[in-house]
Amino acid sequence: MSFFEYLHLLFTDYTLRTTTLGTAILGAVCGMLGSFAVLRKQSLLGDAISHAALPGIVIMFLLTGTKNSSMLLLGALASGLLGAYWIKGIIKNTRLKSDTALGIILSVFFGFGMMLLTYTQKLPNANQAGLDKYLFGQAATLLTSDIWLLGIVAIACLIVLMTFWKEFKLMLFDPDFTNVLGFDTRKIDVLITTFIVLAIVLGLQTVGVVLMSALLLAPAAAARQWTNSLSAMVILAAIFGALSGIIGTAISATADNLSTGPIVVLVSAVFVFISFIFSPQRGLLFKEIKIWNNRKLLEEQKTLAFMYDIAATHEDITHPHTVKILNNFQGFTKKTLQKLVVKEYVNVNDNMWSLTKKGYNEAESLYSQYVNDDD
């Protein structure tokens, strides 16, 4: 299938269109909110909340007997919020650290949810089949009404972010100072956490409880690599999230029997991978290249400085000396000498080298540069 055929299908096929829109909006919302989770170092909160949502889904089914996704997600919302609330309670009231609290709530809620799930599957009621789709998600089951819900949450989230931008930024950077200035961090915290829980719950149908947190964190982690501004990071994360949804859906639609949720998560992981290696400021590749270049440059400068010291003992600074002398200097290589020649700092004739006027001035400025560097 060519790109244009796919594009045509995107506008004509109901399921494909709904799924693409759904995963794109979900990815964008998760990217935005995920930025806050990442910067607050609460990356695992999303994981705990999504796992904590499972028992809520099953209990809701047991109580009402429907598989109406809105009803089930209401159950997920309730138990997700309960999980988040308990995590914060444990951190506040015990000496346990946040990772332990998250781990406990995650596994206890998920274990309870799995137990209920296996129990329901043994019930003599054909209706329960399909509940397990919430484990890994099933994007194809998205309906137009789900898209509307996602769209409304996305817009609400955007409005809240823009309205309280200043307060969010302040609390993310310096919570104590936020309180001192008179902003109640608990209120800001409740606002952020509520939206994170909402985004997670809405994503359960598409991506599932197990993989949901990846969609929250991956676009944000990738975006952080490319920018040093909070607003740019949030926007980029939203774009990465949306692209993950669109590309992931396309891959799973063109390849048979690949479920959408995991593919979307994998695509977002590709964004992370690329960002970690290739981003110009923080990427591993450029960092290594920078360090390597810097080392080479320092080697050159040290060699030049050594030659400068020798040349300075002569009245004529361009007086030739034997290359052999340089062997006394550790770190000297023929290659560095050649580079200095290319830069016209040094002339080499036979086995004799001499500084040029340009090289002499350069060496002199190096001295003052390193002496006066007061950082």
Binding site: K166, E167, L170, D176, V180, L181, G182, N228, S229, A232
Partner: protein
């Protein structure tokens, strides 16, 4: 001598995190216009005292008044410099942005900083000698520069009372002098500056008022009158001058 107003009045303040009290029954009256050091050993509750005055830590008992009113009502005339290690400096923002945060309090909820706030922030940056670095990413600052940024953020608050938690920690001599000169200038303008301080040697030179703290208040008053071996020994449990092996 003219009777000075009391800037900060603390009565019966007691704070406990778990079982043991961190601060026990503190009574303290800090007069307006002093530059005061709070000294005491590690775990003496110096930072906690500051945090309970500012409402970050909930005290078990006692009251704090700033110019006669509760902190809630006096927020706008109080500035705070936290320890620079209390935040993550890898946060994606710039020097100017951090300083502008000092204006958020007077703006209140939702309202964004405008031209006036930006101008004030740039002025504060100039005072601490950081104007040329206004656009720099904060992760690229040295320890001394971080401290200057925090100081500028407090200056923007344009307060009457300044609380600073170890502003000299981990900064080089140049920055230390720059900071103390700014603090002395604040005192000249009759501002009250309260500083958690560790370097006993510099107390007489930098400060005119001092409080010795070790869970309880040991002594408080003018440096000239009470900064002596007796109080130091009472606070630290050893005589720091004779305990160093010669």
């Amino acid at each position: 001598m003219v009777e000075r107003r009391i800037a900060v009045q603390i009565d019966d303040l007691t704070v406990a995190y778990n079982y043991k009290p961190v601060l026990w029954d503190i009574d303290l009256a800090i007069p307006e216009g002093v530059l005061m050091a709070i000294v005491g050993p590690n775990g003496a509750g110096k930072s906690t005292l500051m945090k309970s005055i500012l409402g970050i830590v909930e005290p078990l008992a006692g009251s704090v008044r700033i110019f006669g009113k509760s902190y809630d009502k006096q927020r706008s005339i109080v500035a705070y410099v936290p320890q620079k290690g209390s935040v993550d400096w890898d946060f994606p923002t710039t020097v100017l942005d951090v300083v502008m945060m000092g204006t958020y309090g007077s703006l209140g909820w939702i309202k964004r900083p405008g031209k006036k706030e930006k101008k004030n922030s740039l002025e504060a940056l100039e005072k601490v000698g950081m104007l040329s670095l206004k656009g720099r990413q904060i992760s690229q600052l040295s320890g001394g520069q971080q401290q200057r940024v925090f100081l500028a953020r407090a200056l923007v608050q344009n307060a009457e009372v300044y609380f600073m938690d170890e502003p000299f920690q981990g900064v080089d001599a140049t920055t230390e002098i720059a900071i103390i000169n700014i603090l002395k200038e604040l005192r000249k303008r009759n501002k009250t500056v309260i500083v958690v301080h560790h370097d006993l040697q510099t107390v007489p030179e930098y400060f005119d008022w001092v409080t010795f703290l070790n869970v309880k208040k040991i002594a408080t008053g003018p440096v000239k009158e009470i900064f002596n071996d007796d109080n130091l020994t009472l606070t630290y449990g050893i005589n720091y001058k004779t305990s160093i092996i010669k």
